[in-house]
């Protein structure tokens, strides 16, 4: 790939062919605000927050849609630009109701309110009507409160570009605008697969994860740990959100090598079986026909002595092991080692035959 040079805020910088000015600036750690941008999506250029000044251009240009070019001279943070950006944030805020943002409450922050803090603006200058769009509360996973929608189209685009479902679209104009399914019905029963990816791209509190609701108001730090989805064999990368050693949510790893930031309904919302009340928490031995809780030592000793005598009385082939196709590989490796080296047979299989 060819490397070219441009000038950013007085510095000569290199860029790769195909990079946008926004990507170059962000790569170099320059602050450029955005609301309609998501690294998984094609540039859209609707929020205008990422404006920069380009030498030779009469008007500021949106850097997300502006391809970097050889010799281009760009300024990002002039007072004039900051004033434009801060006014834009104020106008966006004016569309939002003033009560507590559910996203800030659940996740600790949201893009719109982070920018309000950054630009030190509130919702006073342009205070007026909000759309009072209705809430669709029919499904178990997605909270949709379009009164907080800022028309960035990120949900519509993620549904189309990342998930290839195209289940929702933007309808209407002005106050009548809204995000709708085909025939304007509820998400349940539409083409929506409830994968929930619109939630995690939404920069406001218009879309929220019902499983994460109110998590932000609980004390304690939320930890994020990268892992792999436990469902089908696709191997999507997921972030596990936990607090005090307990799972509270999942988000896609944006650059996951397989899923590239996409997840399905199971990967996104099907994690809380691990918190189920009916998890087994103690070893059990059947005593007088009844499964009875015992100590680890008792369960392990008992198992070892029973297997020893079965091997002695009936030979190695009287034992059979079935490894799990869902447990980690280390589990399967250990079970085959146990079978081959301790029970001395090849009497092992996994669940791939059914």
């Amino acid at each position: 790939m060819s490397e070219s040079k441009m000038n950013l805020d007085g510095q000569d910088v290199t860029f790769q062919e195909g990079e946008t000015v926004l990507e170059v600036a962000r790569r170099l750690g320059t602050f450029v605000p955005t609301l309609c941008w998501d690294e998984r999506l094609e540039p859209f250029g609707s929020c205008r927050l990422c404006v920069v000044e380009v030498e030779g251009h009469r008007m500021p240009a949106s850097s997300c849609t502006l391809g970097a070019a050889e010799g281009m001279v760009v300024r990002t943070g002039s007072d004039k630009l900051r004033k434009m950006q801060s006014t834009l944030v104020e106008m966006v805020l004016s569309e939002n109701p003033g009560d507590e943002c559910p996203r800030c409450r659940d996740l600790g922050s949201c893009e719109v309110h982070d920018l309000a803090t950054e630009f030190k603006v509130g919702r006073n200058r342009f205070l007026g009507a909000t759309s009072n769009a209705s809430m669709d509360d029919s499904n178990p996973f997605l909270l949709r409160d379009y009164d907080r929608c800022i028309s960035c189209y990120r949900c519509v685009r993620i549904c189309d570009e990342v998930e290839a479902d195209h289940a929702i679209t933007m309808t209407g104009r002005g106050w009548n605008k809204g995000i709708a399914t085909a025939f304007d019905g509820l998400l349940m029963g539409s083409d929506c697969t409830l994968c929930g990816q619109c939630i995690y791209t939404c920069p406001t509190g218009a879309l929220a994860d019902k499983k994460m609701v109110n998590q932000g108001s609980v004390p304690g730090e939320i930890e994020v740990t990268r892992s792999v989805c436990p469902y089908c064999g696709t191997g999507c990368s997921i972030n596990l959100h936990s607090r005090d050693g307990k799972m509270i949510g999942v988000t896609p790893v944006l650059g996951g090598p397989v899923n590239a930031g996409a997840l399905c309904v199971k990967g996104q919302f099907g994690f809380d079986f691990v918190n189920s009340d009916d998890r087994l928490t103690r070893p059990l031995i059947r005593k007088q026909g009844k499964l009875t809780p015992v100590s680890w030592n008792e369960a392990l000793d008992y198992t070892a002595s029973r297997l020893k005598s079965i091997k002695a009385d009936h030979g190695p082939k009287a034992f059979y092991a079935i490894a799990s196709g869902r447990a980690p590989g280390e589990s399967a490796y250990m079970l085959q080692k146990f079978t081959r080296a301790v029970m001395n047979s090849n009497q092992i299989d996994n669940c791939s035959r059914g």
Partner: protein, 535 residues
């Protein structure tokens, strides 16, 4: 792209995303599936073949490819053997013959064969719709024939790609949880491999292959197998003919189950070990494209639940076999695996951090192998197989006039032990449904929401009915996610493929009759994701 027996949008939704995106970019997609699955919405053509007639269809496609001069003769010459015999063998497999067996119009078979044969790169993607048949191996080989005669094995965006149904089913095989392979698919009956593992473990290895799980259940019934240790599998619910499996598990002297939940299988156990969940341990999963990826602990196991590897090691130590089982972490277990498995030799926890490496990774500087068979096949030349069409072991007759086929639905994974315990999913799909074509429904006097009794040679179950054109006339569909109400595998077909011993879950002959709503079942909720929406 040729997608065969794979209901991808429901079972592998993120792989389906890739397929849908490729279609947008202009790729042709042919879907081969008895049911009008959602993926057909994106397809250039849908070949709704009769259950289990795959070999007839793919032999006919191979025949057309050869007749039309679309075979890659250079590739055939350099990389395969048996082409002349195949050519002769395929003569009777005309599209017209295949139409008679499969029910797919001959012209559509021709169109699909020509599209596949003339594509620069054509990929075949399949799932259990191909393998869960008494002729599962032949089905896969008939797809391999197509790829071999068109030079579609050994380059990217091509190949014959099985989509694995579980997160680590590939990894479990990689690790040697197979009766005929040590870790890394090293053959148990190969003296060099035996020697290697005897040296590594310090004890003699049994030079003979073990038996499969399916055979082991038979051996349990007849008393040859006295004890089983089952880790993380709900065998009782997932295997065909539940009565037989129950008998097998109850006949054992000693059953150990290691699981997160008290499953139906665990209810039969003599000892239960509480296992930690994937969120509570470090480790790895290997996915469908052989990508070895790292799991990391994010949560604390409940109560005294422990990591699988620890439990097995602790039992092993108490058996006083003298074999090394002193591990202090899952990483030590992984390192030992990598030292014994040539395909993992270049891997350690640092190298699998990003999930970018697909095995084989023979050494630490190796970049992984995203495409297999680039220059040659493991066994030298690709053997073209002369395959015959074998009908399913059960076909409709007067007593059992319908086909039953089974599979998963998007929001209910497998036996629902995970999705069923995750909040919200039971709202999407609260119970089982039998999918019935409108013409069959009319004949059986069944309407949406009615109850039906489904009877096979093994037993009978009851469930609600949904009338839909998704399943073709004469073929019903069910999942197996609600065993507490509807034990689908009470009625599925236990006959197996003679080589893999995989049961024919995909074809059973059944009788369906309308019944009055039974008592004791929850009422149907007013709002739900519709499972049999017509596409």
């Amino acid at each position: 792209m040729l997608c065969v027996g794979t209901n991808m949008t429901e079972c592998h939704p993120i792989i389906a995303v890739r397929v849908k995106k490729a279609v947008r970019k202009g790729a042709k997609l042919y879907v081969v599936d008895p049911r009008k699955i959602p993926l057909t919405q994106y397809a250039t053509g849908h070949l709704p073949l009769k259950l289990g007639s795959d070999v007839a269809l793919f032999n006919a496609m191979a025949n057309v490819i050869i007749q039309e001069g679309l075979a890659d003769l250079d590739y055939i010459e350099n990389r395969t053997e048996g082409f002349e015999q195949l050519k002769d063998h395929l003569v009777p497999f005309t599209p017209e013959y295949a139409e008679g067996v499969t029910g797919v119009p001959a012209d559509l078979i021709r169109e699909c064969a020509i599209a596949y044969g003339s594509a620069e790169r054509a990929g075949i993607y399949y799932t259990l719709g191909i393998t869960e048949h008494i002729c599962g191996v032949s089905n896969v080989q008939s797809l391999c024939n197509l790829a071999l005669i068109t030079g579609n094995l050994g380059k990217s965006s091509a190949g014959v790609n099985p989509l694995r149904g579980q997160n680590n089913i590939q990894g479990a095989g990689d690790c040697g949880a197979l009766p005929n392979n040590y870790p890394g698919f090293q053959a148990v009956d190969d003296p060099a491999s035996q020697l290697k593992f005897e040296k590594a473990y310090g004890v003699p290895m049994d030079p003979k292959n073990g038996i499969t799980k399916i055979a082991a259940l038979d051996h349990a019934v007849d008393g040859r197998v006295k004890s089983m240790w089952i880790v993380g599998e709900n065998t009782l619910v997932t295997d065909p003919d539940v009565k037989h499996t129950t008998k097998a598990l109850e006949a054992l002297d000693f059953l150990v189950v290691q699981d997160m939940f008290l499953t139906d299988t665990a209810e039969k156990a003599d000892v239960i070990f509480p296992a930690a969940a994937f969120t509570e341990v470090d480790g790895f999963f290997t996915n469908s494209d052989r990508r070895v990826q790292r799991l990391r602990q994010a949560a604390v196991p409940p109560g005294e639940a422990k990591a699988d590897w620890w439990i097995i090691a602790e039992v092993a130590k108490r058996m006083e076999s003298g074999v090394h089982f002193d591990y202090s972490s899952s990483e030590e277990v992984f390192d030992e695996l990598a030292s014994l498995s040539p395909i993992y030799a270049g891997l350690n926890y640092d190298r699998i951090e990003s999930g970018d490496l697909a095995w084989p990774v023979p050494h630490l500087d190796h970049p992984g192998t995203p495409v297999l068979h680039e220059d040659e096949f493991v066994n030298g030349k690709g053997k073209l197989q002369l395959l015959e069409y074998v009908p399913p072991s059960e076909n409709p007759d007067d007593e059992y006039p319908y086909y039953l086929t089974t599979g998963r639905r998007l929001p209910t994974y497998h036996t629902n032990t995970m999705t069923g315990r995750s909040s919200g999913f039971r709202i999407l799909v609260p119970n089982e449904w039998l999918e019935v074509h409108p013409a069959d429904a009319e004949k059986l006097k069944l309407e949406d929401g009615d109850w039906a009794k489904i009877r096979s040679r093994r037993g009978e179950v009851m469930t609600r009915v949904t009338v839909t054109k998704t399943s073709p006339r004469g073929t019903m569909f069910m999942s197996f996610a609600f065993p507490e109400e509807t034990m689908t595998n009470d009625i599925t077909n236990p006959d197996v493929d003679p080589i893999t011993e995989t049961p024919e879950f995909k074809v059973a002959a059944v009788e369906v009759t309308r019944i009055e709503s039974p008592t004791g079942f929850a009422a149907e909720p007013a709002l739900r994701a519709s499972p049999g929406r017509d596409h």
